[in-house]
């Protein structure tokens, strides 16, 4: 019996499994496809997913085929016997185009971005072998918010993953961030009548400060403290790190296995 990740498997209770690209992968009740796949030591690219927050499946970069139908693996509950494919030509091309879409939707200038090297969008793009935007840029007009003495918001890089929204609401209990607008005009807002971050109750110690996968929420006066070349994704590709950080527990039911 396989014991992925060195996890102890109760010999009395053989875990249910599904097929991942032809290989059997065990899962625990309540796990999503993404959680089970990561726990089994495989990587699926993602952007809006974060192990500490409830997944909502908006970026769609984690698409897989489940019994022939495309689904976001971060929200898809794992079921016994399902056939999951992650490497079809269509999925590979689709993921690339989704990441390209996020690049052309905002204004991403990696060479001058403080987050370069620490940026999940950039890292996933490298992982997927994306060499150009491939689509016409939309060049949106998104003014920055530098009102806060310690924090800068550069909306140009926002990919609308809602992680800061979720972190502020779920972990900080503050609701500093929310989304407004619709469609391509959808945008991040802050919880203040003035619309300025300085007038919210955000603190640099908030969880929301640390979850932005791109370079929207930045601490002032610490830019480029870590030089390019020594940053998070400079040494190791995102696929290796995602596995190291992979959650080994089911999302819903946390008892059962250790």
């Amino acid at each position: 019996m396989r014991t992925p990740g060195g996890r102890h498997v109760n010999p009395d209770k053989t875990p249910a499994t599904f097929l991942l690209d032809g290989e059997e992968v065990p899962f625990e009740p309540g796990q999503t496809v993404m959680q089970a796949v990561l726990a089994a030591g495989h990587y699926i690219p993602y952007l809006c997913y974060h192990p500490e927050f409830k997944p909502h499946g908006s970026c769609k970069v984690c698409i897989v085929e489940v019994n022939g139908r495309t689904a976001a693996s971060c929200t898809m509950p794992a079921e016994a016997g399902m056939e999951v494919a992650t490497r079809t030509d269509e999925l590979v091309a689709g993921r690339q185009m989704l990441v390209q879409m996020l690049f052309v939707e905002g204004n991403h200038f990696c060479p001058s971005c403080e987050k370069s090297g620490n940026c999940l969008l950039q890292a996933v793009a490298y992982e997927l072998g994306i060499m150009s935007a491939g689509l016409d840029h939309l060049f949106p007009n998104r003014p920055v918010d530098a009102s806060h003495p310690e924090i800068l918001l550069d909306f140009n890089r926002c990919i609308l993953c809602e992680l800061c929204v979720r972190a502020s609401a779920e972990a900080d209990g503050k609701n500093v961030f929310a989304l407004s607008g619709r469609g391509i005009t959808k945008h991040l807002i802050v919880n203040a009548e003035s619309g300025r971050l300085a007038d919210t109750d955000i603190a640099v110690t908030d969880k929301a400060m640390d979850v932005c996968p791109v370079g929207v929420i930045l601490r002032k006066r610490v830019g480029f403290v870590v030089p390019i070349g020594e940053r998070r994704f400079d040494g190791k590709p995102v696929s290796d790190q995602a596995l190291e950080n992979a959650p080994r527990r089911p999302a819903v039911r946390r008892e059962g296995s250790t």
Partner: protein, 607 residues
């Protein structure tokens, strides 16, 4: 300021300061100043105990709610392709010129703003407009001039001539539904006492179960387009665990080209409410909602009167039709300009006072709907049919139409035909027959079921309206030989880009990219590269989108390229790549300023 706060207090209190009523409260609050100033949002957030950003997020989602000054008169020209064909853009230009306005910008005296909006459901009597939410159909140069004068003289919209607001029903063909004449309460009594129905049901059967059996036997399928079995839906909801259940009538008829629900709610409101009440009886619901699209604001008061009358007649409230323990009432919830709310889970989010973003499914509304409780959502027409079945039985109904598509379908016919309006046919009717009946001549194409449906050409007019051939939610737009199918598809592409909720990447970015590509081809700057991109984007939208809006957004493009490829190809500048950036065009202003008209001032002009 205190006066305004008192008004906001009274609005919020009328809704019990319930966060689920946020959208309704915002709509009413906007009436005070014609927009929602930042202070209003903050104050309402405090009253409702919600984060301010959440209130702003909801207000920012809906087209008819304004976070910036929008003028005392807010004029919106319906911009469906049928409005275009009837000359809405020329009328809009006349309007703007008369009032010295720029489209989309409020006049400097804060008097008026003119813009376009998605189809307002008046395609049989377009071009149509909305003024402060009130529908005015049959626009003409004379009507434009009349309205311009009313605005100039600052006449209150409430006192404008009633004739302007007159909406025609245009019922052209009746069958079992439009030809029915039920007494209010007749179907409910039949549901409570099945013996009143056809003799097939044993008298000993308890009411709800027997009525459910009748609905199942009828083979009735949802009329909103997807065609899910109504009986199975009701049964699943009836058996779902939970104390509270809800009936929701989806009257968010947003698909461009559809207006049948408007007529049903105008002329057959009792039948709609009857169907909802029968459903409540079957599934055990005590509360129902009618989600009425904001464009049909003119129907709100008349529908409210019908509800009051039904309460007085004992057809709503407690002890309905004298049946002890049968308690049910209906509330009307007005939308605010968001097509995506026609998707049932987005509609439920909107009912809960949130942004109308479709939920991840499963779980489905039948088990986790309104407030995560079991909820049955059906189309207006489905409830009408259900009322008829409660009265006349499932066997009667299943024998109408085809084997897989029982009953009749109401079509909203518009475009190039002599008699646009409402037509009811048994399922299985051929497109050619319909075209003949509505007086269509030299027809080139028909868009069945709106932009998200299917575009068919002359070789397909023998196809039938039925779930197994051409399923439809009701739209039937006719285009004759004079029409440019490329422009039809481009109009639809703009529609989807405007209506995408923006939740998922493929739909949010993809619909805008598709719109830009169509505009590029329209400008004569397209190439084979653009057509290839359309196919690539379409494949992604169809497979990876979060809901049906994204998966169907490319249908009009794929259909029209497949059937009317020359309409695209004659626009392509070359079959090679053409950059989106037009260097020469961008230099035009610089040339004018510098007076450079020599050859060197035109880089690349000869290539």
């Amino acid at each position: 300021m205190t006066e305004k706060r008192a008004e906001l207090d009274s609005i919020a209190q009328r809704y019990g300061c319930e966060p689920t009523a946020l959208l309704q409260i915002l709509r009413e609050a906007q009436e005070i100043e014609g927009w929602l100033p930042p202070g209003t949002l903050s104050y309402l957030a405090r009253l409702l105990g919600l984060p301010r950003a959440r209130v702003e997020g909801v207000a920012g989602f809906y087209s008819f709610l304004h976070l910036e000054r929008a003028g005392r008169y807010r004029v919106l020209f319906s911009d469906n392709i049928t409005d275009r064909m009837a000359g809405n853009l020329e009328l809009l230009e006349r309007f703007c010129n008369s009032l010295w306005l720029e489209q989309g910008k409020v006049s400097e005296d804060d008097l008026v703003r003119v813009d376009t909006t998605s189809c307002t459901g008046m395609c049989d009597q377009g071009p149509a407009i909305l003024v402060n939410g009130w529908a005015i159909p049959r626009m003409s140069p004379d009507r434009v001039d009349e309205i311009v004068e009313l605005i100039r003289s600052r006449t209150e919209v409430e006192t404008w001539p009633a004739e302007l607001f007159l909406v025609e029903d245009n019922i052209r063909r009746r069958d079992i539904l439009l030809g029915s004449s039920l007494e209010p309460g007749e179907a409910i009594r039949a549901a409570i006492t099945p013996a009143l129905r056809d003799g097939r049901i044993a008298i000993s059967d308890p009411g709800p179960k027997a009525t459910l059996e009748a609905i199942k036997r009828s083979n009735l399928r949802g009329r909103g387009g997807a065609g899910f079995s109504t009986g199975l839906k009701w049964e699943a909801c009836r058996h779902a665990p939970g104390e509270m259940r809800y009936v929701v009538c989806n009257a968010d008829e947003g698909e461009p080209g559809t207006f049948k629900d408007r007529v049903l709610l105008t002329r057959y409101a009792d039948l709609v409410f009857e169907g909802m009440t029968v459903c409540a009886f079957v599934i055990g619901a005590r509360k129902g909602f009618l989600y009425l699209r904001g464009e049909y604001q003119h129907l709100l008061a008349p529908l409210g009167e019908v509800l009051s009358r039904r309460r007085a007649e004992g057809l709503l409230g407690t002890g309905i039709c004298g049946h002890a323990g049968f308690e049910f009432d209906i509330e009307i919830h007005l939308g605010a300009g968001a097509y995506v709310c026609g998707e049932e889970s987005a509609l439920i989010e909107s009912l809960e006072g949130k942004r109308g973003v479709p939920r991840s499914r499963p779980p489905y509304p039948v088990t986790h709907g309104f407030l995560q409780r079991p909820t049955t959502v059906n189309n207006v027409e489905t409830f009408c049919a259900a009322a008829l079945i409660a009265l006349r039985g499932g066997e009667w109904y299943r024998n109408i139409g085809t084997v897989k598509s029982a009953g009749t379908k109401i079509l909203s016919i518009s475009g190039d035909c002599a008699h646009p309006g409402i037509y009811e046919y048994p399922f299985g009717v051929e497109v050619g027959q319909i075209l003949e009946d509505c007086g269509a001549d030299r027809t080139q194409a028909v868009q069945v079921s709106g932009p998200s449906g299917t575009c068919i050409d002359t070789t397909e007019f023998e196809r039938r309206i039925a779930f197994e051939d051409l399923p439809t939610a009701g739209a039937f737009m006719v285009f004759d030989e004079s029409r440019d199918i490329f422009e039809v598809a481009r109009n639809f592409t703009h529609f989807f880009a405007h209506e995408s909720c923006g939740f998922c990447t493929p739909c949010r970015v993809g619909t805008t990219l598709l719109r830009n590509i169509m505009d590029k081809i329209h400008r004569g700057k397209g190439s084979q590269h653009e057509l290839n991109q359309i196919f690539q984007l379409s494949q992604l939208l169809q497979s990876a989108s979060h809901c049906g809006l994204g998966t169907t957004a490319c249908n009009p493009l794929l259909d029209s390229i497949k059937r009317f490829r020359p309409a695209y190809e004659r626009r392509l500048e070359s079959l090679e790549f053409e950059p989106a950036f037009d260097l020469n065009g961008a230099l035009e202003r610089a040339r004018a300023m510098a007076g450079r008209y020599d050859v060197c001032g035109h880089p690349g002009a000869d290539t």
